[in-house]
Each structure stands twice: as C-alpha cells, then as structure tokens.
C-alpha cells in the first residue's frame, strides 16, 4: 500500500447564510468518502465525538440526511487553555438515485466513522454473461 505523510483535516463550518440553523451550537460538514463495490455504494463519514445514540439518519424521498450531535460535557469541569479545533455537530445530506435499493440501507458506526451501506438495485448490478459453447 502507498505510504503518505501528514493527513490534513479542515473543518468546514456551515454558515448561517447558507441555510437556516436550528438548535444550539455550531454545525460542520463532516468529511466523507463515497465508493462503489460491485454490490453496494458505500459512504464513510468522519464524525469524531458523536456517539451512536446521537446520530440520526433520515431518508426522505431521494434525500439521505445525516445528523450527528456532539456532546461537550467532558469539558464542563475543565479550563481550555489551548485550542486548535472546534467542536460542533455534524450535518450532511446526500441525494440518492434509483440505483439504490432504499429498503435495505444499513448504517454502522465505529471509532467515529459512520458507514452507510447502500445496496445497488438489481437493475444496476453488474451482470456476468456466460458464453455457452454450442
């Protein structure tokens, strides 16, 4: 596997002039990867700090909305003396096409990374055509 140094991470804040914000705190666009395997589309979303019970995934028509809330409770008795990143909630939405079998979408969370598994609908799955010998 290729080796690389120094990952970069930029937290993009969702500014209030782009959309109406409800709820307390700051909201951020979590970074995500989308890739395709023969059977599925998979979305990986980095949501560090969000615990599994604070993640909400909604599917409305063709829009998949992911919200993750992050608790800052751990900091209540502490004084922050140096700060390089902001803590905030996560929001992102994806528009999905008919190529996805919407009834079978699965979600998993591990180590702050949410994986959404979107199975492909039968009609877009690659089909192998066997050549028959006559």
């Amino acid at each position: 596997m290729e080796k690389k140094e120094l990952p970069t991470v930029v937290k993009k804040k969702i500014s209030s002039d782009r959309c109406v914000m409800t709820g307390k705190g700051n909201w951020y666009f979590p970074l995500s990867d989308i890739y395709e395997t023969p059977d599925n589309f998979i979305i990986l979303i980095d949501m560090p700090g969000a615990s599994i019970e604070n993640i909400n995934i909604d599917l409305q028509d063709n829009e998949l909305v992911v919200n993750g809330e992050v608790s800052q409770e751990a900091y209540t008795d502490e004084k922050v003396i140096y700060n390089e990143y902001n803590i905030g909630h996560y929001h992102r939405h994806f528009v999905i096409s008919d190529a996805v079998n919407r009834d079978k979408i699965e979600a998993k969370m591990s180590d702050g990374v949410l994986s959404l598994i979107l199975p492909k609908a039968e009609h877009v799955k690659p089909r192998k055509i066997e050549v028959k010998a006559e």
Partner: protein
C-alpha cells in the same frame, strides 16, 4: 505543512469566489474573533484543557486503530504518533468522492505543567483520543500556613 486540495477551476467560480471573498472580508471586519479556518495546523489538531488534578489533551482521530497509535511522555513533552491507514484497497473499489485523508503523523507538545509520567492514561472513544496527564505533586498549588511568632 498542510496540503491544499486542488479543485478544478470553473470560470463562473471566479464570480462566486469574489463574492465569497468580499463576504469573508466583511465578516472579518465586523468580527468577533474568528475561530474558524485553522488550515495550517499540524495533524492531529488538539485541544488542551486542565483542571486541578490533570492536564487533558484531546484530538479528533476518527477511524484509527488503537494499535496504530503511539503515545509517549518524556519529561514534560507529550508525543502523539500514529498512522491513519487506508483500510480499503483502491484497486478493488472505485471511488466516487474522496475527502477523508490518510497518512502517518507525529507531533509533540510541551505540557503546561509538570506531569506524573507514571500515571498518564489514554482513552479512545467515538474517534476522539483523550490523554489524561495527572499533574505532578510538586506543581500542584500548596497552601502555605503562616505561623504567628
């Protein structure tokens, strides 16, 4: 040094870009200090906090195996080393969008207090690393009793 993502330029982008620049400028001029946009920070970005007993160093490191992290305390310097691995084989899948970065990293910070290196603990939960460094007894505030003579 941070890497900057390259985006394909679009002539129309220039207009929106200027608009954004202007709006950023106005934001900047009318600001309350801007806390956003730590582009050049080292990886991982950290938050250092403390209470009476300990110094806490936290870092957002989503999707890292605990075995790929190496944390050391020497005197009052904390070093966090590790690697965020690409768990997928790019030859077997096809990416449609890629934003999450990977790679090896290492950074050291000088701690604000003397710490008890023996008692340092670290935990990793929901992708956030927390290092708990109890302050050494000699750097805790000591009440001085004034004796009347």
């Amino acid at each position: 040094m941070g890497l900057i993502k390259w985006e394909k330029p679009d002539p129309l982008d220039n207009l929106t870009h200027i608009q954004r620049e202007m709006s950023d400028l106005f934001d900047f001029l009318s600001s309350t200090p801007q806390m956003e946009g730590y582009v050049d920070v080292e990886y991982p970005p950290i938050i250092v906090s403390m209470n009476e007993e300990s110094v806490f160093v936290r870092a957002e490191l989503p999707g890292i195996k605990v075995s790929d992290l190496d944390i050391q305390v020497v005197n009052d310097i904390l070093t966090i080393k590790g690697e965020r691995k690409l768990t997928l084989d790019p030859a077997k899948i096809s990416y449609l969008r890629r934003e999450r970065d990977y790679g090896t990293f290492a950074r050291s910070i000088v701690l604000p207090e003397k710490v008890d290196a023996e008692k340092v603990t670290a935990s990793y939960k929901n992708g956030v690393l927390t290092v708990n460094l109890p302050t050494a007894p000699e750097s805790k505030p000591r009440q001085v009793v004034i004796k009347k003579s």
